[in-house]
Amino acid sequence: MANTQNFDVIVIGGGPGGYVAAIRAAQLGLSACVVEREHLGGICLNWGCIPTKALLRAAELRHNLDHLEEYGIEVTGDISVNIDKVVKRSRKVASRLSAGVAHLLKKNKVHVVSGTASIAGKQAGKWAVAVAGDTSETLGAKHVIIATGARARQLPKLESNGTSILSYKEAMVPKSIPKSLLVVGSGAIGIEFASFYRDMGVEVTVVEALDRILNAEDEEVSAAAHKAFEKRGMKIHVSASLKSLTETKSGVDAAVEIKGKQQTISVEKVIMAVGIVGNTEGLGLESTKVKIDRGHIETDSLMRTAEAGIYAIGDVTGAPWLAHKASHEGIICIEAIAGLKDVHGFRAEQVPGCTYCRPQIASVGLTEAQAKAQKYDVKVGRFPFIGNGKAIALGDDEGFIKTVFDAKTGALLGAHMIGPEVTELIQGYAIAQTLETTETELMHTIFPHPTLSEAMHEAVLDAYGRAIHF
C-alpha cells in the first residue's frame, strides 16, 4: 500500500451525519475524507427532510388559498396546482443545498471521494478502506465512521413497484395528483405524505398496525392529531394490518384486517411508509467485530462499535431516524476521537422530533407514559392554542402544548406540542433541557407577547397550577 492515501478519519456516507462529522474533524485539525456513493447531503437533503418541506410549503399555500375568505380576502378565478412545477421546485431546493454541502466540505479541506466504500482490513493500526467508483483506490485511516444511513423497509410481498405502490422516494416526485391514496404506516414520513396529498385534494386513507397514529408521540398528541386529520377528511384506521396489495386496472386493492374484520380499500396509489432499515451491507463489516442487530449497527454512547477504530452514526445505528440526531452523533464521535474533554455521550431523550404535517407536531424528551413507566412522579402542564392571542390572530388556534416535569426535582422530562409552527418552538424546551433548567427558570423567563411561545410559558405554569390565561 505504498501509495495509499492516509487520513485521520474516513467517513463512509456524506449525509447529515457524515458530512457534519467530517467538517468537525477538519475544525479540530484532523485530516478527513468522505466517501459518498450518490450525492452529498444524503437522503435528508436529497430525498427526505428538505424536498418534503418544499412540497409541504406548497400544500400549506394551497390550504391557505382555500381559506382566504376567512381573512377577508376575495379571489376571483380558479386556483389550480401544477404538480410538475411543485415537484420541480422541490428538486431545485434539494440540488441547491447539495451543492452547498460540496462547497462546505471543500472550504474545510475535507477530501471527498465518489464511490462505494468497504472496510478491507487492518494493517499497522490503520484501517484500509477500498473504494469502488469511477476509479478504484484504497484509502487508509486510524478511524472509520460508518454513516451510511438507511433505506425504506420493504415488507415481503408488499414491495413497492414504483408506479402504483410507492416508497417515499417515488412519492416525492409524483407525475400527477392521484384521486385516492392509501398511506401504510403513520410515523412521521407516512403522516407528512398523508398531509401533503390531502391538502392537494386527494382522498387519503391511513392504516396503522398499532393502536394509535404517530406512536412515538405522547398519547394526547396522537389523539389530537387523529382528530385533526379526520376533520380534514382523512380516513384513519388504527390496529389495522395490511394483508395484501393487488394491482388493478385503476390502481391497487388493499386487503386490510381492521380490528379483526377484513376490508378492501381500493385506491389509485399506495405509499409504503413502514419504517426504515440500516444500510449495513457491503461494508466489509463481516470480518470485523462490529455487531449488527436487526439491521442496525450497535454502538456505545460515544458511537464506538465493538471494533476499535470503527464508529457508526446516524440512521445506520437505529431510531430515532433523524438528520439532527445523525449530525449530533457525528460531532460527539469526532470530539471523542480528538480527545476533547467533557464530551458527553449521546442521549436519545434529548433529540427533538418534528413532523411537518398540518397541524405541526414537535416533541422532546419523555412522554407522560414513558415518564411514569420510568417511575417518575410527574407534574403535567397543558395549554391550548385557543388561549393564545397570536394563534387566534393567525387564524390557526388548533392544538396545544403539554409539559411533563419530574415532581421531585423540577427537571423538564418532556414537552409535546401540536399546533401552529410548533416545529420552530420546540428548540426552546430543548435548550432548557440541555441547560438543565428547572420549572423555576422557565417560569422566570419572559416570553414576548404576542407570540406562540407564550403557550410554552403557560404550559410550564400550568404544570404547577399557575397558568394565567386558561
Binding site: G410, A411, E436, T437, T440
Partner: protein, 418 residues
Amino acid sequence: MAIQILMPALSPTMTEGTLARWLVAEGDNVSSGDVIAEIETDKATMEVEALDDGVIAKIMVSEATENVAVNEVIALMTEEGESLSDADLASASAAPQKAAPASAPDVAPASSTAPAPSATSAPQAPAQAGRNAGRVFASPLARRIAAQNDIDITAITGTGPHGRIIRADVEEALSQGAVPAQKGRGIAGASEPRFVPHTAMRRVIAQRLQTSKQTAPHFYLTVECEIDSLLAARKQLNEFAPEGVKISVNDMIIKAAGYALMAEPDMNGFYAEDGCSYYDTADICMAVAVDGGLVTPVIQSVEKAGLADIAAITADLASRARAGTLDPSEYAGGNFTISNLGMFGIKEFSAVINPPQSGILAIGAGEQRPIVKSGELAIATMMSVTLSADHRIVDGAVGARWLQAFKRAIETPAIMLL
C-alpha cells in the same frame, strides 16, 4: 506629596498580616513615634508607629482586614495644611507590590446558600473548573438535586462546558456516597455552629503542627521523676533569690532540659533533607498559652544561664506573650520545646514537635504518689514527663539517654552546678 504608610514586615518571612485595629482616624494629627495601628501576625500583635509628623489624610485599608500584603499602602499621611491629590490616591492604590500568591485560601462556604465571606483584599484565586472566587457554575437542576440530598455542590467537579457542574456530576457524586453538607442533625432545635474566621495565629498553628505530624515520625518515651529534692532546692534558692525574682519548678525544668541537651548532644539538632545540623547552645522554647492559641518564646543559651536569670526571662516572656507584644525575634528559632500542662492536673501527655526541632518534652503534674523505695512503700512527689522525638534524627537510645540525663538533673539538681 503625601507620605505612604506601608504594611510593615514584622519578621523576615512575613508576607501578609492582619490589620487588626487603627488607633487613629482620618484627620488626626500624629507625631513621629505615635502608635497608629496594630498589626496581627502569626503569633503576636505588633504596633505600627508613625515615622513622621503629619496628618492622617486617608486610611486605605480598614481595620480587621486580613491578608494585607507586606508593603501595601495602608494609609496616606500629609503635612499639616497639605491636601491629598488624585495622583497620591492613584499611586497608593496602584502601589501594593504583592508577591504573587501561589493560591488563595479556599474559603468556600460549607453550604452553597450561605453568603460568601466578605471579599477583603484577598488575592483572587485563578479561575478553576466550576468555581472561581466563590461563584460555583452549576446547572439549576444540579443545584436542586444537590440541595435535596444535602450535598455540598462546591465539592463536586463539573464535567459540563467550562467545568459547569451538571446533573450527571451530582448524581455521580451521590452514587459515590457524597457526604452530606455539615448540618446540625438529630438534635432538636440545633442551631448552625458558630463560625470563627481564622486568626493569623490559628493558621500558623494549624499549618505548622500539621507539617510536624505529617513529616516528622514521632516516638514517645515516658519517665517518672521524683521531685522532692528539686522542690527543696527551689525553696532554698528562692530564699536567696534577688528581689522580685521567684524561681518556679518550670524554670528548673528548663534548666534541666538545657543540662540534658549538653549531656546528650545528639539530641540537640534538627533534621533536614540533606543532613542533620547540631547546635552547641541550648536554646529552649517554652509553650505559653495565650488568647486564641499559643506562642513559644525562646530562652537563649540556657546552659550558661543561672536559674535567677532564667526565672526573670521566663516571667517577662510569658507576660509579654499573653499581652501579644513579643517581638517576632523573641519567638523565632529554638532547639527544643517544653510544654507544661501540670498546672491543669494533667498526669501525662504527649506533645507535637515544634518543627524543625528534634523533640518536645511534655510535663505532667507534680503530685504525691505511693512509690516503692528499697522494698518499702513510701510517699514521694512524682512528675511524669514524656519526650516526643523526631525519629529521623533521634533514635530510641539517644532519646532514652537524654531522658536519663534530664531525670538525673531533676532528681539531683545539684549536678546542674557542675
